[in-house]
């Protein structure tokens, strides 16, 4: 059972030196570290229960199927979905959004329809919609962001959320601003005009309690690797009624009810959307990660991460020439994003690495937003359950040193 006071011991990768300094891992928005329980769940599965799922009737195959379908049930519970069948396993957020955009989109979008996004969307919640727009003739439209403070400009919602809007897709937490969006309100507004809603949950799944029914969304996409599970597995939640009316995404073994040389029939969800051997090995890490996060308490995680985000924002704000993005007050996710006029983000990241600090610099897959803000990129520090206030002090000291070096003094 994990426990807040001994938490860091659960994460093997944290206990290493980088360039002779203790690792300070502040790149959690890109991917989190994995607790021992997750790494062990994976090895144990492959050491004992490994066999292909679904079509197998022998002991190992039945155990593997139980583990795989058990992970589905666990994720359904974690999100408070109405049924396991509403959980489709994918490689991660990006594939989940591609699945909705391509499958739902090809069946429902046509010329004249509008896909509404926000200006703060990650490329993964933007490019898939550009691709389906091209294929169907639908048009994209954007809800603006207010500027450096990085809030959605809700005053403009009525203007952009018109009856031509068939789908409204937005992120729960911005990965470059730290903004936590009022997603329940956005879903309710979309519902009024009959648009479906897609929440990009990449940055919320591991950081907040998520209840898809309370949020009122139609789809919710996330990645396991951003919540302590591993890469290669994630999921799409979708309301059953919508899923069952959607055409398949990929074709192949496991998703068909019958195949003939010239035509085929599909199984219902979730099988319809899971062609080929599923990633059952990695799926078991979702069970372990959900258990781990629930044992820590998701309310408490939200508080912890958000407090670190706030603290970092405050401590960094005194650095000379710093430009800080994201909400100045109000709710904030566990990350902070900043820029200096004279020192490029990549130089900061390379220098901070010499102090053992892992940061990320660049456009964070938010090119259009960066362009709007007149930035080529920012440096981002992002936190998770194992990060501490002391690590923020290490970061601030390192940044002071870097600024000094580049100012030539």
């Amino acid at each position: 059972m994990p426990n807040w006071s001994t938490l860091r011991d659960d994460f093997p990768a944290l206990h290493q030196q980088v360039n002779g300094k203790p690792l300070v891992y502040l790149d959690n928005a890109a991917t989190t570290q994995r607790p021992r329980a997750v790494i062990d769940a994976l090895s144990h599965f492959y050491e004992r229960d490994n066999a292909n799922v679904h079509r197998g009737l022998h002991a190992l195959s039945m155990r593997a199927t139980d583990a795989y379908e058990g992970a589905r049930a666990r994720v359904a519970q974690f999100l408070n979905a109405a049924a396991s069948e509403e959980i489709i396993f994918t490689r991660g957020t990006t594939e989940s959004i591609n699945l909705v955009a391509a499958s739902w989109g090809s069946a429902h979008l046509k010329a004249g329809d509008v896909i509404l996004l926000t200006e703060m969307e990650h490329h993964s919640n933007l490019v898939p919609w550009q691709l389906i727009a091209q294929r169907t003739g639908a048009k994209l439209r954007y809800l603006p962001v207010t500027g450096d403070e990085g809030l959605l400009d809700l005053a403009q919602l009525d203007r952009v959320l018109t009856p031509e809007v068939k789908v409204f897709a937005f992120t729960h937490i911005s990965n470059s601003l730290g903004t936590i969006n009022p997603v329940a309100e956005l879903c309710a507004r979309a519902k009024k005009i009959g648009a479906i809603t897609v929440i990009d949950g990449a940055q919320s799944i591991g950081h907040l309690p998520v209840d898809v029914r309370a949020l009122g969304c139609d789809f919710y996409a996330f990645s396991g690797h951003k919540m302590g599970a591993v890469t290669g597995i994630g999921a799409l939640y979708g309301r059953r009624a919508l899923l069952d009316a959607m055409p398949p995404y990929q074709g192949g073994g496991g998703m068909i009810s019958s195949v003939d040389f010239f035509e085929s029939r599909w199984k219902p969800s979730p099988e319809r959307f899971e062609a080929g051997t599923p990633n059952f090995g990695d799926a078991v890490t979702l069970t372990a990660a959900c258990d781990y996060l629930d044992a820590l308490g998701r309310d408490r995680i939200a508080r912890h991460d958000s407090e670190l985000g706030r603290l970092a924002y405050e401590k960094l704000s005194v650095l000379p020439g710093i430009r800080l993005l994201g909400p100045k007050t109000g709710p904030r996710g566990g990350l902070v994003s900043f820029a200096f006029a004279d020192v490029h983000a990549h130089d900061i990241v390379t220098f901070a690495d010499e102090d053992g600090i892992a940061l990320r610099g660049g456009h964070h897959c938010n090119q259009p937003l960066m362009r709007k803000l007149g930035l080529t990129g920012t440096t981002r520090a992002s936190f998770y359950v194992y990060n501490t206030p002391e690590e923020i002090d290490v970061l601030v000291a390192s940044l002071r040193r870097i600024l000094k070096f580049f100012s030539g003094s």
């Binding site: 079509r55 009737l57 039945m62 009810s257 019958s258 219902p268």
Partner: protein, 150 residues
């Protein structure tokens, strides 16, 4: 092989080798098709419903011993029953195959209690029943065990 002798004990083997009410029913006024896509089991159920009762019933199909024996036994259980009675018998059977609890009165259906140890085979055991209930309701969609609602 204790579980297996339970599972395939005489009743199942017997129904499998000498299926009851097998073949098309020329006088049928209801028919439904069931399939189990994962296994490839198939089952057609034919009914002649007279008033509110199943006057005659037969099945035809192919599949594993469990699916065929279960369909055969199902026909003997449902003959002469009303739709409400059929639903009740199915509920009892479903309970047996999913929990492994033997029925209260000694009955042939008890032979299927062993199925609960083989979750992947529950679909085989319930296939014929699904088709029969669909035929009773006059539901034109083929019964499929992939609906996650058995």
């Amino acid at each position: 092989m204790s579980d297996l002798t339970d599972l395939y004990q005489q009743v199942i083997l017997d129904h499998n080798r000498r299926p009851r009410n097998r073949g098309k029913l020329p006088s049928a006024n209801r028919v439904a098709h069931g399939d189990n896509p994962t296994c490839g089991d198939q089952c057609d159920v034919y009914l002649r419903v007279d008033g509110d009762r199943i006057a005659e019933i037969s099945f035809d199909g192919s599949g594993c011993a469990i699916s065929q024996a279960s369909a055969s036994l199902m026909t003997t259980r449902l003959k002469g029953k009303t739709a409400a009675e059929a639903e009740k018998l199915y509920a009892e059977f479903h309970d047996i195959v999913t929990t492994g609890k033997e029925p209260e009165e000694i009955s042939d259906v008890g032979a299927f209690a062993g199925v609960h140890a083989f979750p992947a085979r529950i679909k085989c055991a319930t296939l014929g029943w699904h088709a029969a209930l669909n035929a009773l309701k006059g539901d034109p969609a083929p019964a499929t065990t992939e609906s996650h609602t058995d």
